[in-house]
Chain length 204, copies 2
């Protein structure tokens, strides 16, 4: 809750929010949270898109983006000409037949196809029902191109490592709190952190 977050900060503990949100920029995400009373800033958010940007820059990769339109600003600084990899996010209604074929053609045409996925969720729930998540489309492209995607975002070890780096805290001094036993708890433990599962959110 907003109050617990406030108490954590007041106690002097460092805090980083780890989210797999890929339908909005961190700025939009923070705006939404602030409107709900949470005192957070963009620097306190670790999200898959910036993690992907670091990976792209480290390896000199130029992405073709198949992501949600609202996420595109996160990739503003990235060279996207003459793509040598595909970055896949939860594109939602932008997962059209044409867009999927376009990403597939680019990928299979590469000398060494590189597929980076901003998550590997199976599905999620919206007010109008269940939706296929990015993981399903990742599997489709993996199969068609005979490649294995590199997943950034939870539960990837590198994702938690970058959150720790942003905190400036070693794994053994950090605690991950989340409602997902695989993405939150499992991912953090793989990274050497302790983890707490809360019975709120999507817990059941």
């Amino acid at each position: 809750s907003a109050a617990s977050l406030c108490r954590i900060k007041a106690s002097g503990l460092k805090l980083q929010l780890c989210t797999n949100e890929t339908q909005a920029t961190r700025a939009d995400f923070v705006r939404k949270l602030r409107a709900m009373g949470f005192d957070v800033s963009v620097a306190e958010v670790t999200a898959p898109a910036p993690a992907a940007c670091r990976l792209l820059q480290e390896r000199g990769l130029r992405p073709h983006l198949l992501v949600h339109h609202d996420l595109i600003p996160e990739f503003a600084e990235i060279d996207k000409t003459n793509p040598n990899c595909v970055v896949l996010g939860d594109a939602a209604e932008h997962f059209t037949y044409a867009n999927l074929n376009e990403a597939f053609r680019l990928l299979i045409g590469m000398e060494k196809p590189v597929l980076i996925s901003l998550g590997k969720g199976r599905y999620y729930k919206e007010t109008d029902g269940l939706k296929l998540d990015v993981g399903a489309y990742m599997k489709a492209l993996e199969y068609a191109c005979d490649v294995e995607a590199e997943v950034v975002g939870k539960p990837a070890k590198s994702f938690f490592e970058s959150a720790l780096a942003e905190l400036g805290v070693p794994a053994e001094q950090a605690v991950m709190i989340g409602d997902d036993i695989v993405s939150d708890v499992g991912g953090a433990q793989q990274c050497g952190m302790r983890a707490l599962q809360v019975r709120t959110g999507k817990y059941r």
Copy 2:
């Protein structure tokens, strides 16, 4: 060629065409072949949709169809009310985000999800470029619902068995001729048939 087909028939050998075509009914497929000079009838064609229909009827399954619109007439005799399985074909432009979510929701809502796929091809080539084939969408639904699809069509053993049944010939007296080492040659061999690979068609 049309001439070789003619000679085979004239020699008294029985003949059955085994196709994974799922974008048209057998009637349309035969019409196209006849226009090209091939002397074939609908009864001489073994295709995935009729194989799926037999399977549906044997097991009392009522499908939700995510297939090409031109294939739907093949399922005219099948009860499609209150679906208890999903039949997936190469739906091409009907692979929309909405249609995929609809098939997914039905599948995951079933007590025991049954996914029947009319093939498992990775991709194919059309005049305007490569397209994702049914296998990619099959993988997406398999992952999201944690099920394994039952594949009818080549290289499924049952597919070749039904072609043999239509011929009234045992496997050891039949020869499969095709250009695909997995779908044609491999599938036929698994079924106890001899097989010849031709270096035409998509062979490279």
